[in-house]
Symmetry: C2
Subunit: 251 residues, 2 copies
């Protein structure tokens, strides 16, 4: 007997940005796995079982959810943002590859969501308006040297850079190191958008020049969008400035 | 008198992936501007005015919409996918920067949507599971040499690459040129996902090895996701293979 596993993106945090597809998969689930604060966003019915785990226990969570689905349950794993962007979809695929043969027979649906960089960008204009990349600053799973190589390659080739997981308690120094590297590649006035909780009541948005940006301006829930030499700021009377990357940007 | 302009992402194509926020902005609009096929997805009421224009007339469309909003109308511009990813949000910001002063007083909302690479990735596993970039192959607005520089930088630094606008009638040769460049940087067996109309009735998905990929496998609505040397394919009995980029991928 085989159940079903849905890996669901909840978007940046308001129910207004949860797609109807995601809501349908949430309603059909008998067991819902996820990081506690993501599960806290949901209103469950009495028959739905909530299984919260720590943010860093991605593979364990994937294993538990696949075990339940392989035993016949309708299971959901929830992610903030999009499950395919530094979130649970890759952990589930990894678990299927290395797990017991019966996990390969579980029907899996990945349900996309609005990822943080799109939500932050929308609140400020169009800072991702030309070629861009997304880099996780976490070195839990890759060498720090790889992060630096990618930052340097992206900045020197003219990509806008969205930074996910910019800091954590265990690595408070990383964002400052990344900013130092970027200061060697980009003009001092390059705009950086610091965005947190986009669209939510506790939203925080700031646009800071690269030469004034500091690591302590971000926490683990902040998404940074680092502009290029071509990023523009449009000042507006009585309205927030628009920040955008011109469609035609070249080096 | 000033109206309001919403720049709305409709997602990849099914109403199931239009957020409640987008639906609310669509319902509130008196005039809806956009590329015809995007407007065709909507069910308008008699009082709503539909203003279709060609896909390449982005700035003209932004000007017309801003003119209407500055005159007091509630206006929407619709984009497929997300308006901030190779779509209308940057064109609107550009128009505001270079247009008449009163356009700077128009209240503008950008409403994010599920962009093509997230929708395609979700249908096949987690091919964007580690650091990735998004590149538009169109050279309407940037030199072709810039495209090649960015492709080379991204592939050599280990980014997954999502390619938007891979071909058009005016430039049928570009995708083959891009694939040739990538063949010099990546192993021949690197998986490439060709995704089109993700989630729709006419969806087409294929996973092709880099050494067998050809430009005529894509059209202008295809989004390609080019893996790295670390991208994995998980074969499953009776189910489509999963393609994913391990979270811990390093060079």
């Amino acid at each position: 007997m085989t159940g079903h596993l849905s890996v669901i993106g909840l978007g940046p945090g308001t129910s207004d940005q949860v797609t109807p597809e995601a809501s349908r998969h949430l309603a059909a689930a008998e067991q819902l796995f996820g990081y506690g604060p993501y599960l806290d966003r949901l209103t469950l019915v009495a028959s739905q079982r909530r299984v919260a785990s720590d943010n860093r226990e991605e593979l364990g969570r994937a294993d538990a959810a696949l075990t339940a689905a392989a035993a016949g349950a309708r299971v959901a794993i929830v992610s903030g943002g999009d499950p395919g962007v530094f979130a649970m979809a890759a952990a589930v695929c990894e678990a299927v590859e290395h797990g017991p043969e019966e996990w390969r027979t579980v029907d899996i649906s990945i349900v996309p969501g609005i990822t943080a960089m799109l939500a932050v960008a929308a609140r400020i204009g169009a800072p991702l308006g030309h070629d861009f990349c997304a880099i996780s600053l976490s070195d839990n799973l890759k060498p720090w040297e790889t992060v630096l190589t990618r930052l340097r390659a992206a900045a020197s080739a003219g990509f806008v850079i969205a930074l996910y997981n910019p800091v954590s308690r265990a690595r408070p120094w990383q964002l400052d190191a990344a900013l130092d590297l970027l200061r060697a590649e980009l003009p001092p006035e390059t705009p950086i958008v610091f965005g947190r909780a986009a669209g939510r009541a506790d939203e925080r948005l700031a646009v800071i020049r690269l030469d004034e940006a500091r690591g302590d301006m971000a926490d683990m829930a902040t998404c940074l969008i680092i502009g290029t030499a071509e990023t523009r700021i449009v000042v507006r009377p009585g309205l927030p400035a628009l920040v955008y990357a011109p469609r035609g940007a070249s080096r």
